[in-house]
Symmetry: C3
Subunit: 420 residues, 3 copies
């Protein structure tokens, strides 16, 4: 085995570790963006659903995406993977497997945004299995596993469409069916800010996601051969930074206050947007993509709020709107030389034709994720006597109602005893 093979494998495993670490970022981001009474539920479900995603990916997900016996729709071999003998040519297949497993976990975690603070635990668990079996692997096969979108030349370097848009469209279907949280919208049509309970969590969560994104994007080079991964990491950093800056200033200008959650969303939007194009664009373009993503996410949040679509963790705006922007931006900003350098043989044409293919990928992937999740949840709604906890349970919080204990027991016990 040569040294480059081993170095590539180390790089990919490091990437996988960083992407799995993003689950820690989501624990903080999601728990911090919601209320204290649901904090244990949300933090715990991240661990649990990443676990579920891992086992399902091992059992069937990897096979559906990358199975050698495949059609254009889905792969059909390599289930219950046990690959210690199988070796890829440029890196260890096990390293690649773990890296892909981590991606599947992220997409599921994003989808949770549509369920937050009101879905039954049992509903979300069954959804997490269905999503990991029938949604994510199908789209991943289409684009990364040699499926029909790959055949049409669809580019998605590190998963703007595959991971982020898929998760966001599932979240959209869920939040439409679940309806807004109690207290979110008033009868007169105005909306209340059900503020997240801990901005230190959310800020630290964003920083951890930022760190993890170096694995997400720079790890997606799947090799160190040309020393290009450092450039991808740099582009990633610049877009995140630009997104934070533009989001803070747009909120300051429009609202008169430098809003912290908006700024944090801006950083994430920059990260999501650059995910598609980090290997194809120059640094100045990364800055521009990030700046636009930061402004876009601010208006997108307001847009969904005006439509009365409740999006507690901003999944629709951060992963959806910024994901679409990122995928399209590849068409606008890609530099042909870079595309060649960065992709070792994958030609990237740029221009309007490419833009059309990108759009086709967004529309078909997004529609598939949305429609299938919508139907599955509709079936579950009837089969399981509704998707939501009862009104009393929602008001009491999912920690106590779904798990039998508070995430912050001393806070709630002391409140209770004060009331009594």
């Amino acid at each position: 085995m040569n040294d480059l093979y081993l170095l590539n494998s180390v790089w990919i495993v490091l990437g996988a570790i960083l992407v799995i670490f993003m689950q820690g970022g989501f624990i903080l981001l999601e728990a911090g963006s919601t209320r204290m009474k649901n904090a244990g539920h949300i933090a715990g479900k991240v661990i649990f659903t990443f676990s579920m995603a891992s086992i399902v990916f091992w059992a069937v997900g990897y096979g559906f995406i990358f199975g050698e016996q495949a059609n254009l729709f889905v792969g059909l071999s390599d289930f219950f993977y046990s690959g210690y003998e199988i070796e890829g040519s440029n890196y260890a297949t096990t390293a690649f497997f773990l890296f892909q497993l981590a991606f599947a976990g992220i997409s599921l975690t994003i989808a949770f945004g549509g369920f937050a603070e009101r879905a039954k635990l049992s509903v979300y668990i069954i959804f997490s299995i269905l999503f990991s079996v029938a949604i994510y692997p199908v789209i991943a096969h289409w684009i990364w596993g040699g499926g029909w979108l790959a055949e049409h030349g669809k580019q998605d370097f590190a998963g703007s469409t595959v991971v982020h848009l898929t998760g966001a469209m599932a979240a959209l279907a869920a939040t439409l069916l679940l309806k807004p949280r109690i207290g979110k919208y008033n009868r007169d049509g105005s909306s209340n800010n059900l503020a997240g309970h801990n901005q230190v969590y959310t800020a630290l969560g964003v920083l951890i996601l930022w760190i993890g994104w170096f694995g997400f994007n720079a790890g997606s080079t799947l090799g160190v051969d040309d020393g290009f991964f450092g450039y991808v990491a740099l582009n990633t950093n610049l877009a995140a930074a630009a997104g934070a800056i533009s989001a803070l200033f747009i909120s300051w200008i429009v609202l008169g206050k430098a809003d912290v959650p908006t700024m944090l969303n801006g950083a994430l939007a920059g990260l999501v947007a650059i995910t598609a194009s980090c290997a194809f664009v120059e640094t100045w373009a990364s800055v521009v993509i990030g700046l636009i993503a930061g402004i876009l996410v601010f208006y997108s949040v307001r847009f969904f709020d005006r439509l009365k679509i409740d999006d507690p963790i901003y999944a629709l705006s951060v992963h959806g709107a910024a994901g679409i922007w990122g995928t399209l931006s590849t068409g606008f900003f890609a530099t042909p030389e870079l595309a060649t350098v960065g992709q070792a043989g994958i030609f990237y044409g740029g221009g309007f034709t490419q833009l059309g293919v990108q759009a086709l990928g967004i529309i078909t992937s997004g529609l598939y994720a949305f429609a299938v999740v919508f139907v599955l949840l509709l079936v579950m709604k009837f089969a399981m006597g509704g998707l939501r906890v009862t009104e009393d349970e929602e008001i009491a919080g999912l920690d106590i109602s779904e798990h039998g204990s508070y995430g912050y027991p001393e806070v709630f016990v002391s409140k209770d005893s004060e009331t009594a």
Copy 2:
């Protein structure tokens, strides 16, 4: 120096960094699993005792384990290590040193579980020195340093016995001598749930430990030569995931509630269990080992509770019971081909003979750790006027009584002023 040597060294240093990061996981896990009044004490002691473990390991621990002048019981050279000139043949010795130092720190942190929320700070500090001098290095020498258990063929790939069982048995001795926390058990024999104060901390702590375990297990290959480390990381991930899933469902079935702390313990139990065998078993076996570990930890926690052995941070169940299961499971599930691939020359026989050696290792190591810690603490009990803080101090919390300031001063000040 050839490239493979350097790449191995990078991999080992990365492993060391990940294992040291596990101390951050323990800060969150231990502080989150206990009450607010002890949070600063517990978080601070992690930093302090890792510091102590580091200095003692440098001064004498490394020499006791790996010193070239050695007998079957303990090594006797290489104290006050300053090894910039000494180079190993496959990797830099300094990298290996730091990796081993990190392991010593983890074992000590596990042992704290038996002292939590009631031991005097001075007692725990002296214990931390004694443990780092006389407990951990001895067992590590027996199994990893060429001592008598190594000579009998005892396998412990990444420390199920050396790190986890040793820590857990020390915790058992401590908790038996210290007696349960005030309020834990009622006169009628029933037990109260002194719930941990922050499940976001514990969930994030588990995620950080999970991440760190990639260094713990996959780093224990001590080299990247065969590209096998990715496989070890994959097995680690699968066992953790399986443990979380089985633990959640067993609690749901038995208690009627999907208990978050149980699920988190399940993930950790899966990680502890796979630590012994991650390089020797196929992926399906990792899943089975994890599933069983998750169920085991649920019943183990109930078992210790019924015995009125107070185990605030579940060290006995997570690191003890799951550690024993993991060590034995190597005997059940090891695949000979893998053992050869994974261990580069270390033959692993499997079967009943090996099972016997594994059991011998567990029993002798466990007994040594338990008995010596028990005696040392008994001596300290008399020499230091007891191991516990006073009843008033325990009720007030160790933050204020042992350190003179609250970990959450605004919470306690406002509570106090409300009372006044």
Copy 3:
């Protein structure tokens, strides 16, 4: 491209990731060391100012430091860096760029210590741009970019002077101009402890910083050629550990209580101190440097408090006093053989001549940072109608007054509603 080039690049990118992760440590350290009413502001500003530092570094900072067209004072090319074609000889230039960007971000974050809990957001944002344009790059050029101090032989392996002292001197200028926080000092000259609100945050923050410092110091080898980076990491760990231990015991002896914040400062002081010399000294010297740093930081905190210089996050003591000690200690403890091994051709003389050059570097760099920041802030004070928020805003907290929402909304809302 050869394998060593690629391995060096991976190591440097890993170092950059670890250093950027330190911003997460600062989120926790800075928010935890201050009060609840400012927590969202402080956590958010870390993300925002790292973003600002990133963009400014990309636009002009890198060029000022390392631009090929340079004089002794500052570099003058390579602005708006887009370096995918430019390749260094030992590692990818993009990797080096990201690593240096991360350092610039750390120095700015340290400087915040002088503004904490009372500076206007607008003031700090403008300062963050000015610092990133005119302070940090100039000193970095002097010492690392071939400027006049480099020509005089000034050593600063990983930035004791460039990063830590520069940040601390900026913080000193700021805190002198801003004056102490309301309630910090009484009319009779005594001082109040405005205790940080969360020691779990601060302890975890220190652990994350500790982890990140492996990238900071061991990454500063900028290559793995001689396998020396493991040794640097080991020295880093030993100094941090020694600092925590000596700080805890000095506080215990002097105050009668084992003070947690002091111990945490001790670990950081050990890290800051070893930053200058980690590649030049033997392990025993690292322990001694750390032990002294831990004691020094305890007395330094008391010293600044007695001078009524308010230093909420201990920047002056941890990064200033310990930074000076670290830079000087290189002169005392450097081992000539190590200096040669560790620096691949950079001769390190040691002894009094070197000590003189080290002192010259400290004095000139410190003076430049202090004086220029002082003047800039003085100008801003007049131009912007003062540097501080109003008394009412400070009492209400910067979360609500500068950002329009609380970092912990449920805590403050419930308090408010109780009052009402």
